[in-house]
Amino acid sequence: MPLTMAGEFSTSYLQILDESGEVDRELEPKLSDAELLRFYRAMYLSREADQRMLKMQRQGRIGTFGPGTGQEAAFCGPTFALTDKDWLLGSFREPGARFMRGEPLSTALLYYNGYEEGNALSPDKRTLPIAVIVASQTLHAVGIAYSMQYQGQKDSAALVFLGDGASSQGDFHEALNFAAVWQAPVVFVVQNNQWAISVPRSKQTHSRTIAQKAIAYDMPGIQVDGNDALAMYQATKEALARAHSGGGPTLIEAVTYRLMMHTTADDPKKYRTEKEEKDWWSKEPLVRFEKYLRDKGVLDDKAKATIEAETRQYIDEEIKKFETRTTFKPDASFDYVFGTTHAEIEKQRAEFLATLNQGGADA
C-alpha cells in the first residue's frame, strides 16, 4: 500500500436564520413563544448594557471593559441551550451570557470598577468568574467536565467560550486534547469575531476555519453563523445532548464580528476600515432575530416597547444600586490569600491597618 488514504474529514457550516432574517423551516428549533422572548430579551439587555457601560466608562464611573456588541447571538445562543445543571465558563466578552446565568448588572459594574466583590455569583450557579488569561479557562472546563463524569452527574456538561485569538494558545490545544482523550462532556465555543485586538483572523491562524481544528482530535467540530441566534442555540443544543449522553466533546466555531472597540482602551480605526465594520453591521444578530420574531408573530411594536422600557428600568436600577453601594473592607485582601490563618499575614495586616490610620495610602 504505497500512497494511500489515512483519513478523510470534513467540517460543516450551520445557518438557520439568514442575514435577511429568513428562517430555514426544516432546521428551525422548536421554542415556545415565551422562550423566544426570553432569548430575545437576553440579547437586547446585553446590547443595552454595553451602551450604558460605555457612557459610564467615558465618565470615569467604571474602568476598562470589552463590549460584546455584535456577538449577542454567539454568546446568548449557547447559554440559552444550557440548563442550570450545566457549567458555564467564559472569557470577558459574554456579558449577556453572564446576565442569563443570574449575574446582576450591578455586580458586573462592581467588577469593572475594580472590586473582587464583582465576582459574586454563587458557585451553585455553576458559572465561573471572568477569565482574563485567554484560553486558560478551557482547561478548567475540561477538569469540571471530568468531575461531572466522575461524579456521575450525567445531565451536566461544561460549556466554555473563548475567542479566535485565544485559539492560538497552547492551553486551547491541551484542553481539546484532554477533552477528546477523556471523551469529557464539554463544549468549546470559539467566538471568532475576526479580530484579536488589532490582529485579523488571517494573521492568527492559517486554517480556513477554526472548526476544522477539531479534526486534530477526532472531535466533532462545526462552523456556525455566529450572528444567527437560532443556529447557535441549535448547534449547542446538539453538542450538549451528545455530551450528556457520553458522546464526548464538541468544538463550535461561531463566525461573528466584534462591532465595537476591543476594550474601551482601544481604537479600531488604527487597524481596520469603517467599511468592514459597516458590512458586518448589516449582518448583526439582533435585527435579524427581531424580524424572525415579528414574522412569527411573537413580537410586535407594543411588546418591543415594553421590553425596551423594562430593560431601561432594570439597567437604571442596577446602576443606582451599584453607585449607592456601601464601601468595602480595605483589608479584604488579607482575608483571602489563604483559607488558613498565618502569623506573617496577620502581622502585615496589622501594619496595613495602622498605616491606613496614619493617613497613608489614600486611606
Partner: protein, 326 residues
C-alpha cells in the same frame, strides 16, 4: 512502626487519603500503570482504578489546568509533575488561576489541590532534572510551598497538603527518596503547614535547612558538636510559604548566630528571605552576620560537575565553625 523510605511514605499518604476520601484523585504523566517514574504512585492504579489514578497526556499546563477545574467542582486532585524541571509549564495556570481564585471571588471559589514534584540535584540526572527552584514558586502569593526532608514528615505533610484548602506545591527532594528509612506510623499523622520544626534545640547557634540539605546538615551539626561541644539548634523549615518567622526569630533571640544551608543558587533564594526576616525582626540580637551556605548563581551544571556546586558536609561544618568563632 515500620521503617520506610520517602517514596513509600508518600505512597502511604496517598493511599490512605484516597481510601478515606473518594474525591481525592491522582493524575499526571506515568502515574498510573507505571506507578510513576520514581514509583511514588505504585499500586494506586490497581487499587483505585483508572478513573482515580489518571495517566494524562504529556502536557503540564494541561494537567494543572484540568486539576484546577476538578478542584473548582468538588474533587481533590493531587497532580504530579514528573520533574520540577518541567513544572514551569504549569506556572501560568498556578499563578494566573490556582493562586487567585480565592482572592478573585472573595472566598466563593477555592482551588484545593496539591501539585507534587521531585526536585533537587545530586542524582546523576540529565539536564532539567537537578534544579532547586522553590523560591520561584514562593514568589506567588496564594500558593503554599512545602518541602519535606524525610519519610515521616513527608507523609504527615502530604496528608496535610491534601486536606488543605489552598493550592500546595509539594516539592520532594528526590535525593532523599531512597536515601534512608524512618519509622512512619501506619496510623494517621499530620503536621501543620506553615510551621517549621525545631529538630534539635541548642543555645549557641541556629542552623536552618530544608529538603535534601536537612539530612546532610544534621550530620554536619553532629560532627561540629562532637568536635567542639557546642549546642546547636537545628530548624527544618518544611514550609517555604507561608514561612514560620516566629520559630526562626525565637531561635535567633536565643542563639544570636545563624547559618542557612540552601541547595539553590545564592541569589533570590529562600536564604535571602530568611535573612531579610531576621533583619526585620531580630537584627539586634545578631552577634555575627547570617552565614549563607548555598549553591552559586550559575545555571545548574550537568551532573559531571554538580556535586562541586551543591553544599556538602564539609562546607556546612566550616560555615558553622566560622560563625561560632565570629
Amino acid at each position: 512502626m515500620p521503617k520506610i523510605n520517602m517514596v513509600q511514605a508518600i505512597n502511604l499518604a496517598l493511599r490512605q487519603e484516597m481510601a478515606k476520601d473518594p474525591n481525592v484523585i491522582v493524575l499526571g504523566e506515568d502515574v498510573g500503570v507505571d506507578g510513576g517514574v520514581f514509583r511514588v504512585t505504585e499500586g494506586l492504579h490497581e487499587q483505585f482504578g483508572e478513573r482515580r489514578v489518571i495517566d494524562t497526556p504529556l502536557a503540564e499546563s494541561g494537567i494543572m489546568g484540568v486539576s484546577i477545574g476538578m478542584a473548582l467542582s468538588g474533587l481533590k486532585p493531587v497532580a504530579e509533575m514528573q520533574f520540577d524541571g518541567f513544572s514551569y509549564l504549569m506556572i501560568p495556570q498556578l499563578e494566573g488561576n490556582a493562586s487567585r481564585y480565592r482572592s478573585r471571588s472573595q472566598g466563593l471559589w477555592t482551588v484545593p489541590l496539591v501539585v507534587r514534584m521531585p526536585y533537587g540535584g545530586a542524582v546523576r540526572a540529565l539536564e532539567h532534572h537537578s534544579e532547586s527552584r522553590e523560591a520561584t514558586y514562593a514568589t506567588f502569593p496564594g500558593v503554599k510551598v512545602v518541602i519535606p526532608s524525610g519519610p515521616r514528615n513527608a507523609r504527615a505533610l502530604l496528608v496535610a497538603a491534601i486536606r488543605d484548602p489552598d493550592p500546595v506545591v509539594f516539592m520532594e527532594p528526590k535525593r532523599v527518596y531512597r536515601a534512608f528509612r524512618e519509622d512512619v506510623p501506619e496510623e494517621e499523622e499530620t503536621m501543620e503547614i506553615g510551621k517549621a520544626q525545631v529538630v534539635q534545640e541548642g543555645g549557641d547557634l541556629t542552623v536552618i535547612s530544608w529538603g535534601a540539605m536537612s539530612h546532610i546538615t544534621r550530620q554536619a551539626i553532629d560532627e561540629v558538636q562532637k568536635r567542639r561541644g557546642a549546642k546547636i539548634e537545628h530548624i527544618d523549615l518544611l514550609s517555604i510559604a507561608p514561612m514560620d518567622t516566629d520559630t526562626i526569630s525565637n531561635s535567633i533571640r536565643k542563639t544570636g548566630r545563624c547559618v542557612i544551608v540552601q541547595e539553590a543558587p545564592r541569589s533570590f533564594g529562600v536564604s535571602s528571605e530568611i535573612t531579610a526576616r531576621i533583619n526585620d525582626n531580630v537584627l539586634l540580637y545578631l552577634e555575627a552576620p547570617v552565614k549563607r551556605i548555598t549553591n552559586y548563581d550559575v545555571v545548574t551544571p550537568y551532573f559531571g560537575r554538580e556535586l562541586k556546586y551543591i553544599p556538602d558536609q564539609q562546607r556546612i561544618e566550616r560555615g558553622i565553625e566560622e560563625t561560632l568563632e565570629f
